[in-house]
C-alpha cells in the first residue's frame, strides 16, 4: 500500500518537473505524452489502491504510513505521512479520473496556444498537490497541498500573463484564499496546543473519544477557524469573490481546478475534521448556514450573468454551498456524494463551454450565441446531459446527490426547515439559470457575427472523447446511492460510515429531540423536484417560447436587475472599504507620515541636525584668537575660584 500511494503521488510530480525543465525543447506530442501519461499512471494507482482497500473489512483501521520526519521542533512534529481511508479513496478516485480526462481534453484545447509545455507542467503539478492534499496524514502536510494547489491555481489563472485582467485575477485568487489560510494556520496552532498533535491518526480518534461537551469552546474555535480556511479555498461568503474572476484562466483549468477538484478542498477539510465538528455543533451549524446562504446568493447572481463561464462559476459557488450545507446539517456523506457527482457534471459543463468557445472563435457572451444545437451536436448532447444532471432531473447523477442534501437539510441532526426551504428555492434557481444558459447558447436564432458563424465547427475527437466519458459519468455516478424513498439503501452513505458514522451519531444524539417530522422523505423529494421543474419551465417560457419577456422584466424591475448584473456590488464594496483604505493609509500615513516624516525626518535626521546646530554654536568658542582664549581662561578661573570661596 505504501508503494501504491507513492506511485499515486510521484508520476505527476515527475511529469511537472520534466515538462517544466525540458518541455521547451520537446515536441508537443512528447509534452502531452508526459502530461497525460503521468496522469494516467496516477489514476491507475488510485484505482489499484481503492481496489486493495476495498478488500479489507469495513471496520479495518485507516491506513497510515510515516515516510520521513518533515518538521520537528520541541514537542511539535509534522511528518511526511500519508493517510488512506474510505474518504481518501473517494477523493483520490474523483480527482484522478477527472484530472486524467481533462488532461486528455487539454491536448486538443491547448493545441494552438503558446506555452503548451508550461500548461502541462503546471497541470501536473496541480494534480500532485491535490493528491497530496487528500492523502496527507496530518494537517501540516495537508496545508502543503492546500497551498500548493493555490499556487497552481495562481499560475494557471494568470496563464495568459500578458493580459492585465488575467494577472489581476491570479493575484486576487491567491490573496483571497490566503486570508482564509490565516484561519487554517491558527486552527492548526490551537489544535496542537490543545491536543499536542496534528496527526490524523492520533488526534482525530482522541477528539472522537472525548465526552459530550468536553473542550467545546476550543473545538468550536478550531472548527470556525478551519471553516475560514475552507471558505477561502471553496469560495464561500465572504471570500467567494476570487472564483468568478478565476475564469480568466484557460477553460480546462476552470474545469479541473475551479470546478471539479481544488475548490472542493474546503469540503474535504470539513469532512476530514468531522470528529472536531461533531463536538462543536455551533461551528457546524455556522458551516451549514453559510453554505446554504452562499448557495442561494450565488444562484441569484448567476441568473443575470451573460458570460457563459461566469454563469458556471457562480453555479460552482452555489453547488459548493450545497456541499457545506450537507456537512453542516450533520450528514457529511451527502456532501462528499455531491462533491463526486458535481466533479463529473461541472467538469463536463466547463469542457462543453470550452468546446463552444472553440467553435465560436473564443466567444463567451451567451447573447451572441444561439442555435448551436445543430452545428455542434456532440457538445450540445453532452452539455444537455450535464445540465439535466445539475438541475436534478431524476435518473441523472445530480438528482441523487442533491436530493440527499435537501433531505439532510430537513432531517439531518442539525437540519432546519428554513435551510430546506432556501435549499429548494436554490434548486429552482439553479434549474432556471442553467436552462437559460443552455437555451441561449444552443437554441433559438443564431446571434453571432456572420464571420464567426461561418467558422463554427465541432471540436476534434481529442476534446469530444472526454466529453462523452464525462457525460456517462454524469448519469451513472449517482446510481451508487439509490435514495430511500425510492426503495434504495443509500449505499454510498453506508460505505462511508466507518469515516463519518461516529460523528453523525454523536450529532444526532446531541440534537434536541425534535417532534416527528411533518414531511416524509418522499414529500421532500417531490418538493425539490417541483422546484426544479418550475425553474426549467420558467426558463423555457422566458427564453424559448416568448423571448421578449426577459427584457421587459429587466426594464420593469430595473433596480433589482442592476443589482444582480453588478453582483450586488460586492467587489466595489471590498475595494472601497478594505483595499483602497489600506493602500492609502500605508502610503500616506505609514510611509510618508510616520516613516519618512516622524521617525526618519524628525527623530533621526532631527537629531543629526540638532547636533550640527549645537556644534555650530560651540564652534564660535574655537575662534583661533589668542586673546579670546585668554579671556575664556580668565573667566573659567574666576568662576572656579568663586565656587571654591563661596562653597
Amino acid at each position: 500500500m505504501e508503494a501504491i500511494l507513492l506511485l499515486l503521488l510521484i508520476p505527476p510530480l515527475a511529469g511537472a518537473a520534466l515538462n517544466g525543465i525540458l518541455g521547451r525543447r520537446l515536441p508537443q506530442a512528447a509534452v502531452s505524452l508526459i502530461g497525460c501519461g503521468t496522469a494516467a499512471l496516477s489514476m491507475i494507482a488510485a484505482l489499484a489502491a481503492a481496489w486493495k482497500f476495498t478488500q479489507l473489512p469495513p471496520d479495518a483501521a485507516p491506513y497510515a504510513h510515516h515516510y520521513f520526519t518533515w518538521i520537528h521542533s520541541g514537542t511539535f512534529t509534522a511528518d511526511f505521512a500519508l493517510y488512506y481511508d474510505r474518504l481518501t479513496l473517494v477523493m483520490t478516485c474523483t480527482v484522478t479520473v477527472t484530472a486524467f480526462l481533462i488532461h486528455l481534453y487539454s491536448r486538443g484545447y491547448m493545441e494552438h496556444e503558446g506555452g503548451y509545455y508550461r500548461f502541462f507542467s503546471h497541470l501536473n503539478l496541480f494534480l500532485f498537490m491535490m493528491l497530496l492534499l487528500v492523502t496527507a496524514g496530518n494537517y501540516a502536510l495537508m496545508f502543503v497541498g492546500w497551498e500548493g494547489v493555490g499556487l497552481c491555481s495562481y499560475l494557471l489563472i494568470s496563464f495568459y500573463f500578458t493580459r492585465q485582467s488575467a494577472a489581476d485575477a491570479g493575484k486576487k485568487a491567491f490573496i483571497t484564499t490566503r486570508i482564509g489560510d490565516v484561519g487554517f494556520t491558527l486552527a492548526v496552532a490551537l489544535l496542537f496546543w490543545t491536543f499536542r498533535s496534528i496527526d490524523f491518526s492520533t488526534v482525530l480518534p482522541q477528539i472522537a473519544a472525548l465526552g459530550a461537551g468536553e473542550q467545546r469552546t476550543v473545538l468550536t474555535a478550531i472548527g470556525l477557524l478551519f471553516f475560514l480556511g475552507a471558505a477561502g479555498k471553496s469560495a464561500q461568503i465572504p471570500l467567494y469573490v476570487w472564483l468568478p474572476d478565476a475564469m480568466e484562466g484557460p477553460t480546462p483549468v476552470s474545469a479541473l481546478i475551479h470546478a471539479a477538484t481544488m475548490v472542493t478542498a474546503g469540503v474535504y477539510l470539513v469532512a476530514r475534521s468531522n470528529a472536531i465538528f461533531s463536538h462543536a455543533p455551533a461551528a457546524l451549524s455556522t458551516v451549514g448556514a453559510i453554505g446554504c446562504i452562499t448557495a442561494f446568493f450565488a444562484a441569484t447572481i448567476a441568473l443575470c450573468q451573460n458570460d457563459l463561464k461566469r454563469i458556471l462559476a457562480y453555479s460552482t459557488i452555489s453547488q459548493l454551498g450545497y456541499m457545506f450545507a450537507a456537512c453542516g446539517a450533520g450528514v457529511f456523506a451527502a456532501g462528499i456524494f455531491h462533491l463526486m457527482t458535481h466533479a463529473a457534471f461541472k467538469a463536463l459543463l466547463f469542457l462543453g463551454a470550452g468546446s463552444v468557445m472553440h467553435a465560436l472563435s473564443g466567444e463567451l457572451d451567451i447573447r451572441k450565441m444561439g442555435g448551436l444545437r445543430h452545428r455542434i451536436k456532440i457538445t450540445y448532447g453532452t452539455f444537455l446531459i450535464a445540465t439535466l444532471s445539475i438541475c436534478g432531473v431524476p435518473g441523472f447523477a445530480g438528482f441523487f446527490s442533491k436530493d440527499e442534501i435537501l433531505a439532510a437539510e430537513y432531517e439531518g441532526a442539525l437540519g432546519r426547515s428554513w435551510l430546506f426551504v432556501l435549499g429548494s428555492v436554490t434548486a429552482g434557481l439553479t434549474a432556471f439559470y442553467m436552462f437559460r444558459a443552455l437555451l441561449m447558447t444552443f437554441h433559438g436564432q443564431p446571434r453571432m457575427d456572420p464571420e464567426v458563424e461561418r467558422h463554427i465547427h465541432e471540436s476534434s475527437s481529442k476534446m469530444t472523447g472526454p466529453l462523452i466519458v464525462l457525460a456517462i459519468l454524469s448519469i451513472v455516478a449517482g446510481w451508487v446511492s439509490w435514495p430511500k424513498p425510492l426503495g434504495g439503501a443509500e449505499a454510498f452513505d453506508r460505505y462511508l460510515e466507518p469515516v463519518f458514522g461516529q460523528s453523525e451519531e454523536l450529532l444526532r444524539a446531541a440534537a434536541p429531540a425534535t417532534p416527528a417530522h411533518a414531511l416524509t422523505g418522499g414529500a421532500l423529494m417531490l418538493i425539490s423536484l417541483g422546484a426544479a421543474g418550475l425553474g426549467i419551465l420558467l426558463a423555457l417560457w422566458f427564453y424559448l417560447w416568448s423571448p421578449e419577456l426577459p427584457e421587459r422584466l429587466a426594464r420593469n424591475f430595473k433596480s433589482a436587475y442592476t443589482l444582480l448584473v453588478n453582483k450586488y456590488y460586492v467587489d466595489e464594496l471590498y475595494g472601497a472599504l478594505i483595499v483602497r483604505p489600506i493602500r492609502l493609509c500605508s502610503e500616506g500615513l505609514l510611509w510618508r507620515g510616520i516613516d519618512a516624516g516622524a521617525i526618519d525626518g524628525v527623530l533621526v535626521n532631527g537629531t543629526a541636525e540638532a547636533t550640527a546646530e549645537v556644534g555650530g554654536i560651540l564652534r564660535r568658542i574655537q575662534s583661533g584668537n589668542l586673546r579670546s582664549y585668554a579671556a575664556w581662561v580668565l573667566l573659567g578661573a574666576v568662576v572656579w575660584v568663586g565656587y571654591v570661596l563661596l562653597r
Binding site: 520537528h72 520541541g74 514537542t75 494577472a167 491536543f195 500605508s586
Partner: protein
C-alpha cells in the same frame, strides 16, 4: 586544540592578502582569487557543519589562548548550533555575492574584493568569538568594510546612507561597550562562558536592576542591527544605496548579527530582564511585521520594497525569540537563515534587473516575463519562498514562529499570521507589476535573459531554498542543544522537550503522551497561566506516566525525563555541561 575555527575565520583574510599583491589591472585574476577563496571557505564551513556533534551540549571546536594580560582578554573561539548555522549562511552567501558582482563592479575591483574578503573574516569572527572583547573587535571591524562598500560602490546617495549606517550602528556599539565594561568590572572576566557561570550561580554579582540596564544596553545595540521597529530607518537607505554584494551581505548576514546577539547575550545573561521586557519587545516585533509589510507594499523602488520586507521578516524572528519556547526559538533561528537566503536572492535578482536597465523603479518595468522567462521563473520562485509557501524554506520558520508565538499569546500568533497574508500582497503585486502584463517600455523589449553565470547563482540559491523547505531536519537538529541551553536560562521547563537527543525517540514518546487528552485551561486569547505554560509534554498524570514508561522505547528508559518530573529533568540535563 584544533584550529578549525581560526582557519574558517581567517581564510578570507589570507585571500585578501593575496589580492593585495595582485596588480590592480589584473581584474580577472583578482576576481578568481576572491571567488576561489570564498569557495574554499564555503567548503570548510560545510565541513564544520557536518562535523558538528548534535548531542554535544555547550561549545564545540573550542580554541582558547590568552591574548592580552590586563585586562585578561582571551582568544576564545567556539561554536554551538546557532553559530554553526549562521556561519554556514555567511560562507554560503559570500561567494554568491562575489559572483553577483562579477560584471556590475567595474571600478576599483581590487579594493572591492579586498574589502569583501575582510568583511567575511569580520562576520565569521562575530559568530565564533566567545570573549566579549574579541566579539567587540570583530563587531566593529566588520563595520569598516561595509562602510566603504556602501560609500564607494553605492548609488547616488551613497555617502548619506553610509554615514547614516555607521552612526546608527556606532550608537548601539557605544552602549554595548559600556555594558561590556560594566560586566567586566562586576565579574572580573571577559569570557562569555565564565560570565554566564557567574551570573547563573547562586550569588550573581549583578543586581536585578543592574541587569535590566545591561539588558537594555545590549538589546539596543542589537535591536538597531536587527532592525526592530522603530529603529529601522537606516536600513532602507543602506540597502538601496549599497551595491548588490553589499545589499546581499547586509540583509543576509549583518541583520542576523542583531538577532544572534540577542540570543547569545541578552537572553542567557539577563533572563529575568528578558522576561520583563518580552511583552514590549513582542509588541514591537508584531508592529514591525505589520508596519514593515504595509510600508513595503507601497514602495515604488524595488530595493526599498525588499528592504522594508526585511523589517517584517525580522519582526517574525524577534517574535519567535521572545516566545521562549522550542518552536519559537528554533523557528526564529531557522527563519534567520531563510531570510538570509531568500532576501539575498531577491537582492541579487533586483541587481540583475538593474544591470540590464539601470533603474530600480517598478513603474519602469512590466511584462518582463515575455522577454526574460528564465529570470522571471527564478524571481517567482524566490518570491514564493519569501512569502512562505510550504515546501520552500520560509514556511518552516514562519510556521514554527507562529506556533510558538501563539502559545505565548494567541493574539501575537494571529497578528503574525496576518503578516503572512500581507507578504503575499506586497510580493505578488510587485511581481505582477514587474513581470506580468504587456511590455510597456520600448527599452525593455530587447533585454537578454539570464547568462550562464546568473543561472549558476540562481540555481544554487533555488536548490538551497527547496532543500531547506523539504528537509529542515539537519538544520533544526543542530539547534536543539543551543536552544535548550537558552531556554534553561530564560524559561526553565520549556527545554525539557529538547534536551534528550534523538527526534525519533521523541516522536514516539510524544505520541504516547498525547494519547491521554490534556485539558485546555485558559480562554485562548489570554496567556496561559504559569504552571500550564511551564508544563513539559511529559507532565502527565501519574497513570499515564507509568503507561509512558512502559511504552517508551529502550533508549528512553531510565533517562531522567521519562522517570522523573519535568522540573528535575532539565537540571539533570544541564548538569552534564
Amino acid at each position: 586544540m584544533s584550529h578549525i575555527l581560526t582557519i574558517l575565520t581567517f581564510l578570507p583574510l589570507v585571500g585578501a592578502t593575496v589580492v593585495a599583491f595582485i596588480p590592480r589591472t589584473a581584474t580577472a585574476k583578482i576576481r578568481w582569487v576572491a571567488l576561489v577563496t570564498s569557495l574554499v571557505t564555503l567548503a570548510w564551513g560545510i565541513g564544520l557543519f557536518l562535523g558538528f556533534d548534535l548531542h554535544h551540549p555547550g561549545l564545540q571546536f573550542v580554541e582558547n589562548y590568552p591574548w592580552i594580560e590586563s585586562p585578561p582578554v582571551a582568544y576564545h573561539l567556539g561554536v554551538d548550533g546557532l553559530s554553526v548555522l549562521l556561519l554556514l549562511l555567511t560562507v554560503f552567501l559570500a561567494p554568491l555575492a562575489i559572483l553577483a558582482s562579477w560584471r556590475s563592479i567595474g571600478e576599483r575591483v581590487k579594493e572591492f574584493h579586498l574589502l569583501m574578503l575582510a568583511l567575511e573574516t569580520g562576520m565569521n569572527g562575530v559568530f565564533v568569538a566567545q570573549d566579549l572583547f574579541l566579539f567587540f573587535v570583530f563587531w566593529e571591524a566588520m563595520l569598516i568594510p561595509m562602510y566603504f562598500l556602501i560609500g564607494i560602490w553605492g548609488h547616488e546617495r551613497r555617502i548619506y546612507a553610509a554615514v547614516k549606517f555607521i552612526l546608527y550602528t556606532m550608537l548601539g556599539s557605544a552602549l554595548m561597550l559600556v555594558a561590556i565594561l560594566y560586566l567586566y568590572n562586576a565579574t572580573g572576566t571577559l569570557e562569555l562562558p565564565a560570565i554566564l557561570a557567574q551570573l547563573s550561580g547562586p550569588a550573581p554579582p549583578i543586581s536585578p536592576k543592574g541587569a535590566r540596564w545591561l539588558f537594555l544596553a545590549f538589546f539596543l545595540a542589537f535591536a538597531i542591527k536587527v532592525p526592530l521597529f522603530p529603529l529601522h530607518t537606516w536600513l532602507p537607505d543602506a540597502h538601496v544605496e549599497a551595491p548588490v554584494a553589499g545589499s546581499v551581505i547586509l540583509a543576509g548576514v549583518l541583520l542576523k548579527m542583531g538577532t544572534y546577539g540577542i540570543l547569545r547575550f541578552c537572553l542567557p545573561l539577563f533572563p529575568e530582564a528578558s522576561r520583563q521586557f518580552a511583552p514590549v519587545i513582542s509588541v514591537l516585533a508584531v508592529i514591525g511585521i505589520l508596519y514593515g509589510s504595509l510600508v513595503s507594499m507601497v514602495q515604488p523602488d524595488l530595493k526599498k520594497l525588499v528592504a522594508y520586507s526585511s523589517v517584517a521578516h525580522l519582526g517574525f524572528v524577534v517574535l519567535g525569540i521572545f516566545a521562549f519556547n522550542p518552536m519559537g526559538l528554533e523557528g526564529a533561528i531557522y527563519q534567520m537563515c531563510n531570510h538570509g537566503v531568500s532576501t539575498g536572492a531577491l537582492f541579487i535578482l533586483v541587481g540583475m534587473l538593474y544591470d540590464r536597465r539601470h533603474t530600480r523603479l517598478i513603474s519602469e518595468f512590466g511584462g518582463l516575463s515575455s522577454v526574460l522567462p528564465v529570470l522571471g521563473a527564478f524571481f517567482l520562485f524566490v518570491t514564493l519562498s519569501s512569502l512562505g509557501l510550504p515546501m520552500l524554506n520560509g514556511f518552516v520558520g514562519e510556521f514554527l514562529i507562529i506556533l510558538g508565538a501563539f502559545h505565548r499569546r494567541a493574539l501575537y500568533g494571529a497578528l503574525a499570521a496576518t503578516g503572512v497574508v500581507l507578504a503575499a500582497v506586497y510580493l505578488l503585486w510587485m511581481y505582477q507589476r514587474v513581470f506580468l502584463g504587456e511590455v510597456r517600455s520600448e527599452k525593455n523589449r530587447a533585454l537578454a535573459d539570464c547568462s550562464g553565470r546568473e543561472k549558476l547563482i540562481l540555481t544554487a540559491m533555488a536548490a538551497v531554498i527547496l532543500g531547506m523547505g523539504v528537509y529542515p531536519q539537519p538544520f533544526l537538529r543542530r539547534l536543539d542543544q543551543s536552544v535548550a541551553e537558552v531556554l534553561a536560562r530564560v524559561q526553565p521547563g520549556e527545554e525539557a522537550a529538547l534536551v534528550f537527543g534523538s527526534p525519533k525517540g521523541w516522536n514516539d514518546a510524544s505520541r504516547v503522551a498525547t494519547s491521554s487528552a490534556t485539558t485546555f485551561h485558559a480562554p485562548w486569547l489570554l496567556p496561559l497561566p504559569g504552571p500550564e505554560r511551564e508544563r513539559g509534554p511529559l507532565d502527565l498524570t501519574r497513570d499515564s506516566r507509568r503507561e509512558l514508561r512502559d511504552a517508551a522505547p529502550a533508549e528512553l528508559k531510565g533517562i531522567a525525563g521519562v522517570a522523573c518530573t519535568p522540573g528535575e529533568a532539565p537540571r539533570a540535563g544541564m548538569n552534564r555541561r
